[in-house]
Amino acid sequence: MNVENIRKDFPILSKEINNRPLIYLDNAATTHKPLQVINAISDYYKEYNANPHRGAHALSYASTEIYEQGRQKVKAFIGAEGTDEIIFTHNTTEAINMVAKSFLESLLRSKDAITVAISDHHSCLIPPIEIAKKVGADIDYLELDEDCLISDDEISKKIHKGTRMVFVGHVSNVLGTINPIEKIIQRARDVNAYVLIDGAQAAPHEQVDVAKLDVDFYCFSGHKMLGPMGIGVLYGKKVLLEQMMPYNYGGNMVNFITKDHVDYKRSPHGLEAGTQNVEAVYGLSAAIDYLNAIGMKKIKDHQSQLLEYALKQLSSIAEIELYGPNDLDYRTGIISFNLRDIHPHDIASILDIDGIAIRSGYHCAQPLMNYLNLSSTCRASFYIYNTLKDIDLLVEGLFKARRYLSYGHQ
């Protein structure tokens, strides 16, 4: 994997911030786009634009082809069995809301329980929690052990006979932990509970095989994997998607409608009301092509290399706190940390002056922050265009922050 060549495909990486080269370490928030994706979006409007599915003219056919081929491409990317198992949404958040409102709500009763993880992103937590609160069901939290992992014991305790559905992240956006989703799915099977896995931080970085996982629902966002914003994917087993009432009502999702009766389309179109983000599907297709050309295995190996190097370099800084598991087999390229004597917001600001972009705050994971007794952390997260030098510059920046703002450390 030639990172230098890859970087040439990303126009934004030649940008300067305060007369310094951009060092972008906020990929868990969003990723940059290669020309192939940017051009795809632009080409869509130059060559193919029309409202798909409903027209009887050339451009409408072309647009329909692009949209449905995009669906085909996503299906292959995640190992789904049929294109009717792939629903396009705006993002992961919408996908999870869709499952919460159109699936969980009709299944959950007040004597039931749902299970979530304490490390879940708010988008994975809040939709099911609101439904549970509405019907008066219990909420169980999978908690972390001292190594920031979810133990077997925890899984069997918190997913039990009363559990109807589990909502868990595949990878934590704060700690970078790869959760034991195979074990979670198996346990859910044993107690007849359904599982939704939030794959926003996983699908961009490793090969996902939803059929092999035997997961009920899996979702992720295009913009975190080189694709444009405004496109997400909900994978659902066909038999389950067929049970879901429509999430949004409107155009393009009915077979016929009379004054007395509506016959809704089945999956996938029944769950995609109105004009969809076709440009973004085309952009996502180009992103998938780009990733496949490199190979997801190589991408994962590159992440591991950066992670290992970063953890080693960061641990050499005095008074640094690194969060997350020690075992690198359970981690991806996301590192949350604090310098004991400097507030994360100040660290991020000082790094920003030198063109280095990290994230500071609670990362939309307040329950996790409370659980770890933290109010905020810094977060650096890597992707295919980051280099070891980026990490060296991050470390240099942290030493600089300390020179300016520390309470006596040098």
């Binding site: 507030h343 994360p344 917001h345 600001s349 002056i353 703002l405």
Partner: protein
């Protein structure tokens, strides 16, 4: 933009000054202000003697700007009445919003005037005004 434009000597100095960052026993009122987006979480404590703010302090965690602002605010409001303190908070917030620029008016802010440049940094405005909003709600 240079690091010294944001982290001026006085901001660094005031952010590290522990004199005003402490618990206040038997405080008459405490008010918490929390900025979820960046993790600033400051509580201010006031003790009155009649209508005069006899003692004040702040506790919590926050970035250098929020702490410097809180420290300077505490120095400014001690010995003032509640109304005078509120008036000063309006002046400060007006300064940060670039709505108040008159030098005579701004002089009333004493050292807090050194946060004037934050007006040019939208990302840090919330940090600078956090404690002053808490004061207004006391």
């Amino acid at each position: 933009m240079d690091i010294n434009d944001i982290y001026t000597e006085i901001i660094i100095e005031k952010s590290m000054d522990k004199k005003n960052q402490r618990e206040l026993s038997h405080a008459d009122v405490s008010k918490r202000a929390y900025n979820a987006s960046c993790g600033d979480d400051i509580t201010i404590h006031l003790k009155y003697d009649g209508s005069i703010i006899k003692n004040a302090s702040f506790t919590g965690t926050g970035c250098a700007i929020s702490r410097a602002s809180a420290s300077m605010m505490i120095d400014l409001i001690k010995g003032k009445t509640k109304d005078e303190a509120i008036a000063l908070s309006e002046t400060f917030i007006g300064m940060i919003k670039s709505e108040i620029t008159d030098a005579e008016e701004l002089k009333l802010l004493d050292d807090a005037i050194y946060l004037k440049n934050i007006a040019k940094m939208p990302a840090r405005v919330k940090c600078a005004v956090l404690c002053w909003h808490a004061l207004q709600e006391c």
